[in-house]
Amino acid sequence: MGLVSWLIAIPFLTMLVILAVPARNWRIIRWIAAAGCGSHLILTSAVTYLYCRAMTGDSVNMQTSLLTKLYLVEKVPWFESLGIQYFVGIDGISMAMVILTSIVIFAGVLASWYVDTRTKEFFALLLILVTGVFGVFVSFDLFLFLMFYELAVLPMYLLIGVWGTGPKEYSAMKLTLMLLIGSAFVLVGFLALYHASGLRTFDLQQLAQVHFTTDFQKWVFPMIFVGFGVIGALYPLHTWSPDGHSSAPTAVSMLHAGVLMKLGGYGALRIAVYLLPEGAIAWGLFFMVLATINIIYGAFVAVMQKDLKYFTAYSSVSHCGFVLFGVATLNMMGLKGAVIQMFSHGIMTALFFALIGMVYSRTHTRMIDQMGGLAKKMPWLATTFYIAGLASLGLPGLSGFVAETHVFLGGFFGNMWANTGVMKALAIIATMSIVVTAVYVLRALARVFYGPITNHDFEKLTDATLPERISTGLLAAVLFAVGLSPFLFVNMIESSLLPILNRLYQSGAAALTH
């Protein structure tokens, strides 16, 4: 078993260990979970190092390549007669996503340190979920991809249904069903690709060498893009997200908004745009308009929210719009921005939800107007909350700035197929959302943390405990790291984005000459 398989296996094995421990030892269980995720973080660092060493110099070779280069590949035939194989590997985009997931799950486990009802089942389900997520990010076989994808979605139902708050059963059901209907679209698209290729294979790299007819691409691309769009909160299919996020327990909101929603952007980029460039060219502008609506609509709705979790959930809808916007620009700047935004938003929103969970466990309210002056009692939480908030409104020095700049520039640069004027106009509209974001973030933060302490019960509140500090501190540090040295990150992903672009230019040039 190679290193990449271990990335999937560690959470799964940790889950098995947890299942073997009697439920009454819940304190030990959380240590096991933390140890498992901690060792995963170490393994991820090792894989990142190996990846970065192996890829140095490759970006020159990738200038004209049409196929993404994979590292640490493992390929084992599985259902051989149908061409299904266990095919995992790492490229720049998946590397970024694996790092993100590994950080968020570790922080998530620490943020759930005080879950004391049915702890064993909680951590077991959380680890199944994350196994699925890692699986999606490293698999390059469509069947395997779909399998992990659904595996990642389903534990949500129980995680929200059992440990959630508020209208949890409704939210859990809505979330699960909407996401799986999305995957139904994806399934139709995948099977169509499989049969249209005539190769009897689900191997992504082999499918990428097939030229699908333009008509075929034009109907399969929206199928797959919309299917992934559901989980990426594409307007108007985002409605599961605010309900789901606000009902979910802390760690689940973190993972869900931080990582699971990125499966949408990742799938759209990795599969829809990569395999179906002509479809992407035909539909790019349409999805760009939808993404712009996402950005603006999410931001304006967030202004109106009184509940901290709904507030963050709508701001996530807005920020996930940036990811889809970046993908839809179909140029280097935009695609880079999309990937950085996936990473940056993942960390940022995980931090948000972790902090909301911690504040809620102290104040027992999530209503913004019932809080006030909390910074005096919990300076650590207030500071990290501010860091997250500033990252979210795109302050230079934090990762949000890097990501959003790329995305907007991508919109301005335009591409050679869509109307550049329209794209510029959309980019300007989307940029306005930053102002709205500043309004809602700053207003909410000022309300919650500054001013006099309105409620006398809050006098006794305490600041973050050690596990909570590690969790939030880690996430905040990553926001700074990406914000201050984005080039490290950009180098990592750039060479993997080149093939996607080359394919777009190739088919785009062909389309123009017709």
Partner: protein
């Protein structure tokens, strides 16, 4: 023919032993039936040639027949295992009118033997007779609880509708005989020409088998019969009867009408879409778990017939594999239902609330099996469905794949209803851990392992594919 002979001999032995034993010794009858079926299993897997014909070609063995027989024996074995506790009275809540163990097991064994003959018949007459041998004992089994009005109603409905279905099939077979003048399937295949009468005959047969497979609009009987019959019988009906229907329609569609199957693709697609949609939508509102499983079974039949859209080289392995998965998964769900009904006598979905607190392992097994029915990876149901969807996609029915995939999601909604009762709702105050008998516990455990591993380990699909992919019709 060795496995069939063993099963029939065992049925007769059980009946005779029942006569000579007193009530106390009759506890031995279940194990005797088990031994008989195990012997048949061993005979099938070790001592039966995979190819060959006897009786002048009227009885033939090939890979497809072999896998069907395996399915029948497995469902029979599991059904006996599931019935033992109920019939021997090792239950928490006694049910009146359950008794006559000897007759129960021997009738059960007879229907298994009938099904096994269906898969091997190569003649219209034997085909029909074996279908009747498989069906008539089922009527008896459905009405087993003599004192229970619902069971009686189930039996009566089943007899009436089953007889009608048989009549349809017989009429269809009669027309085919009239067109060709032969009853030998191999000769029939060459003699048949497309004609109006042939379409009529096919429609008759498809309608008749549609009853067995619970294809909409021939599914009406299922809910009442499933609800009224004793639960182990329901379990058996839901898997074996469907398998038998599939074996029969394989004979007709692939062996006789193989050349014309592609012409009916659109019809098959519409049947599939209607069946899965109606089954799913109606299942949402069910409160009784057995009725619920009836509609779930209807929708599963809808997925199954998507297989008829493809060529046999992919369709036959996919459908057989799906059937293997469906048999294990559905029996796993029913094993949990039977256990719960045995212990509490309750059958409503809401009765399952809090089961994850009182009996976490059973709740987990039931959840896994339900998720597998819904087609959630990495459980086997996902793989089974995926292969069938792939066939529809290959035939160009992308809309059907969409309908089927959305239907899977709808089905998840109602399977989650049960999961919600077990995991999210809290248990009653005084609910304690319910006892599990060793037989049921090991059956449930084995079935669940199969549910998980059939989806991960490719060897079963690959061997079905290797053996039946080159099937000649």
């Amino acid at each position: 023919m060795l496995p069939e002979i063993i099963v029939i001999t065992c049925a007769v032995v059980v009946l005779l032993l029942d006569m000579f034993f007193d009530e106390k010794k009759r506890i031995m009858l279940g194990p005797v039936a088990l031994i008989g079926l195990t012997a048949a299993f061993a005979a099938l897997t070790c001592f039966t040639p995979k190819n060959g014909t006897i009786l002048g070609g009227r009885f033939a063995m090939d890979a497809v027949a072999w896998w069907f027989k395996l399915l029948f024996i497995i469902s029979g074995l599991v059904t006996v295992l599931l019935s033992i506790d109920l019939l021997d009275g090792r239950v928490g809540v006694r049910v009146r009118g359950i008794g006559s163990r000897g007759e129960y097991y021997s009738v059960l064994l007879f229907t298994i033997s009938g099904m096994m003959y269906i898969a091997s018949s190569r003649d219209l007459i034997t085909l029909y007779v074996s279908l009747e041998l498989a069906t008539i004992p089922l009527f008896v089994l459905a009405a087993w609880r003599r004192d229970d009005a619902q069971s009686g109603e189930a039996g009566l409905k089943y007899v009436l509708i089953g007889a009608m279905a048989s009549a349809f099939i017989l009429y269809g077979l009669g027309i085919i005989y009239g067109l060709t003048g032969t009853t030998d399937l191999n000769l029939l295949k060459q003699a048949l020409k497309p004609s109006l009468a042939l379409w009529l005959a096919t429609a008759m047969i498809v309608a008749g088998v549609g009853f067995k497979l619970t294809v909409v609009p021939f599914h009406m009987w299922a809910a009442d019969v499933y609800q009224g019959a004793p639960t182990p019988v329901t379990a058996y009906l839901s898997v074996a009867s469907k398998c038998a229907g599939l074996a029969f329609i394989f004979q007709v569609l692939f062996r006789i009408l193989g050349a014309f199957v592609a012409d009916g693709a659109m019809i098959a697609a519409i049947f599939a879409a209607a069946t899965m949609t109606l089954g799913n939508v109606v299942a949402i509102v069910q409160q009784n778990i057995k009725r619920f499983m009836a509609f779930s079974a209807v929708s599963q039949a809808g997925y199954l017939i998507m297989g008829f859209l493809g060529n046999w080289d992919l369709a036959v392995p996919a459908m057989l594999y799906y059937m293997l998965i469906y048999v294990t998964t559905n029996l796993a769900v029913f094993a949990c239902i039977i256990w719960y009904t045995n212990e509490t006598g309750k059958e409503q979905i809401s009765d399952y609330r809090g089961l994850s607190k009182t009996n976490p392992l059973i709740a987990l097994s039931m959840m896994l099996a339900l998720f597998s029915l819904a087609g959630i990876p990495p459980l086997s149901g996902f793989v089974g469905k995926f292969f069938l969807f792939s066939i529809a996609s290959k035939a160009g029915f992308h809309w059907l794949v969409g309908v089927a995939a959305v239907n899977s999601t709808i089905s998840l909604y109602y399977y989650l209803r049960i999961v919600r009762q077990m995991y999210i709702e809290t248990a009653d105050e005084n609910a304690g851990r319910l006892p599990v008998s060793g037989v049921l516990a090991s059956t449930i455990a084995t079935l669940n392992l199969a549910v998980v591993f059939l989806g991960i380990i490719p060897v079963f699909y690959e061997s079905i594919y290797a053996q039946t992919g080159s099937w000649h019709w």
